[in-house]
């Protein structure tokens, strides 16, 4: 154990600051120190993808990073997707409408991973969606509705952009 250090970063557009041990995992820091419990720890070794967040705009696994590595970074977690008015992000709405979640534990990682992929491929095929979300494990749905939702969400995002 060593002395706590300051970590300053931007999360979901808000500047945040907290003190933690240098060994503290980013996922624990987000959940315990910043109170953002939407990011879930499923495997704690970078496999299941439930803890996926956007780190300076790219998908990253918060369970295999230290919080200190995020010092100065800009993060987006699942809590940052909906509008402040409460309106769901088109991808969240598509997940809702296509029954793309059951227990909801993998859902934050699934949403962030899909969003990250849609930035580089706004109009993916079903196969491409499957490949992209293979980074996140879901034990409930069998993925079919998730694939449908990502496809529908991508379309809604394209329409919103147009």
């Amino acid at each position: 154990m060593s002395e706590p250090v300051d970590v300053r970063l931007t999360v979901n557009g808000q500047p945040r600051r907290a003190r933690c041990e240098p060994r503290k995992l980013l996922v624990d820091f987000l959940r315990e120190d910043l109170g953002l419990t939407g990011t879930h720890a499923g495997c704690e070794h970078g496999i299941c993808g439930a803890c996926t967040i956007l780190y300076n705009g790219e998908a990253a696994r918060a369970c295999i990073m230290f919080a200190v590595q995020a010092d100065g970074a800009e993060l987006v977690t699942v809590e940052g997707l909906a509008e402040s008015s409460g309106t769901l992000h088109p991808l969240q709405q598509a997940f809702h409408e296509h029954h793309a979640l059951q227990c909801g534990f993998c859902t934050p990682g699934m949403l962030i991973t899909a969003l990250d992929y849609l930035k580089i491929n706004p109009s993916p095929s079903e196969d491409e969606i499957r490949e992209a979300i293979s980074a996140v494990l879901c034990r409930c749905t069998g993925y079919i509705n998730i694939v449908k939702a990502v496809k529908a969400g991508a379309e809604a995002m394209r329409v919103a952009k147009a």
């Binding site: 879930h40 499923g42 997707l81 227990c103 909801g104 494990l137 879901c138």
Partner: protein, 596 residues
Amino acid sequence: MSETRGLVGRPLLRREDRRQLTGGGQFIADLELPRMLHAAFIRSELAHARIRSVDLSQAAAAPGVALALSGADLLRPLPPVPDTQLSLPGKWTSLVQHEFHNPQQPLLAHDKVRHVGEAIAVIVAESRYAAEDAVALATVELDPLPAVVDAEAALAAGATIIHDALKTNLLGAFSVAKGDTDAVMARAPHSLQRRFHHHRYAAMPIECRGVAALHDQRTDSVTIWSATQVVHWVRREAAAILGLPEARVRCLALDVGGGFGVKGHVYPEDLLVPFLARRLGRPVRWIEDRHEHFLCSAHSRDQLHDVEVGFDDDGHILALRDDFIVDCGAWNPIGAGVPYNTAAHLTGPYKIEHLAVSARTAATNKVPNSAYRGAGRPEAVFAMERIIDMVAWSLRLEPAEVRRRNMIRADEMPYRAGIPYRDGEPIVYDSGDYPDGLAQALEAIGGVDAFRRRQRQARQAGRHLGLGIGCYVEGTGVGPFEGATVRIDPSGKVYVASGACAQGQGMETIFAQVVADCGKSLPRTFSFLSQTLPRSRSASVRSPAAARLPCRQRSTRPARGCAGKPSRSRPICWNAHRPISNCAIVGLAWSGSRGP
């Protein structure tokens, strides 16, 4: 479902989605209680060993550690209580020849460890990080014993005994039969014997297990939050372990990140954490990490079937015998549940008049075996469907046709299976047209003849195209009732509490639909909680299959079962076999009637 014009049966968007989509769900690891401590375990690295010593002195002195406790330390304040794990329905025990030993797993191992990952000691500290630091400072000396990893070997003479007091590794046995299998088998024109092994499975929900507990000193009552499928079972065992009346133990399941059966029974941690909270006077939480889950959360399946079938020239099955062994691992947390499910589902949609099934449950040094998706049923189906294929091949008949010939016909409904279900009630198939179901499935692949032609063509082209057929009739949970309390406050808000726990099935939406049908409109404000009920009028009190029960049995259960007046809860009773309308129930509830 098409039976009502109400909300039940209509596809609705789920009420639980918004919180889960926005990061607002509350799983056990999200629960923060004031002054909460965190537990971590020291676990066995050996499958079978005698515990020579456990030295926690350094661990106890580590920064932030509130308590370090070994199994031996725990024996004094918490002597082992008589078996609370095994609960066999009375009616079943009177009908099925059986014998079960059920060694009670200590909350921490104190004499021996019997599987890898079994907990030997616990550390409670100010943070999980501090607790894990202290775990690394513990010293455990184990004297290895031979490990038994094969169920047949476990039952052989001279096998190493896992539970010394029992002097046997045979933890349970039962047999169930109908007709005269011996005689019919002996005179059947053909017979076959085959052995089938169904390997182990692990459920692996994305959320691991976890439990938190809070003790209220003033009332000496305990609240337990567990990522469990069985809140009533947790309460019952916790009350027994703590020596508290059930009324002073409450158990809640928050959002649970998948269950699949692995969270469908009570684990030692479910009981130890409340004990620690009471002893320390501070809330305690333990969140299983994935490493622990891999190591020691329950597995399932692992059955060895020796099947014998007698049949005629046309492939009609005349008699069936199945002697199977369940490798239950070191402990048998759900008793007869899994093997009896296997026995009760063996014949599935087939009419088999002479049947003899016997099951043995063997202790080995593997991780305990409990439920996983189907909880014994898929093993039965696998054995049955394989043997049907073999009957067909031996007679050079089409496997689909042999299935059809053996199926219970629609005009034979209701069909009495001739053996009891696991609640002891006779199994009666009330309706169904299995041959038609099979025909529809075969039609969906273009007909079996056409498929066989394709298969032959593919084979000529060097491709092996397979056709597997599996037929399945499932009895779901036990019942035939499910309880809930429904309260309506003066503002019109409806509160439903049920022991049926959701792990993604959408029960909040389902129960809202049911309640809405009572009131004929979807309540504007509605609150659902999976928790123990003040009075345990719930199938989930007993049933580890709670995951499925309310959805598959009939979603109208809470309305039909126990509704209440707004001012005081007054359960009404009903007969599940006499359907009454939801509106009638509302009337009954409000008039305080006892129901039909």
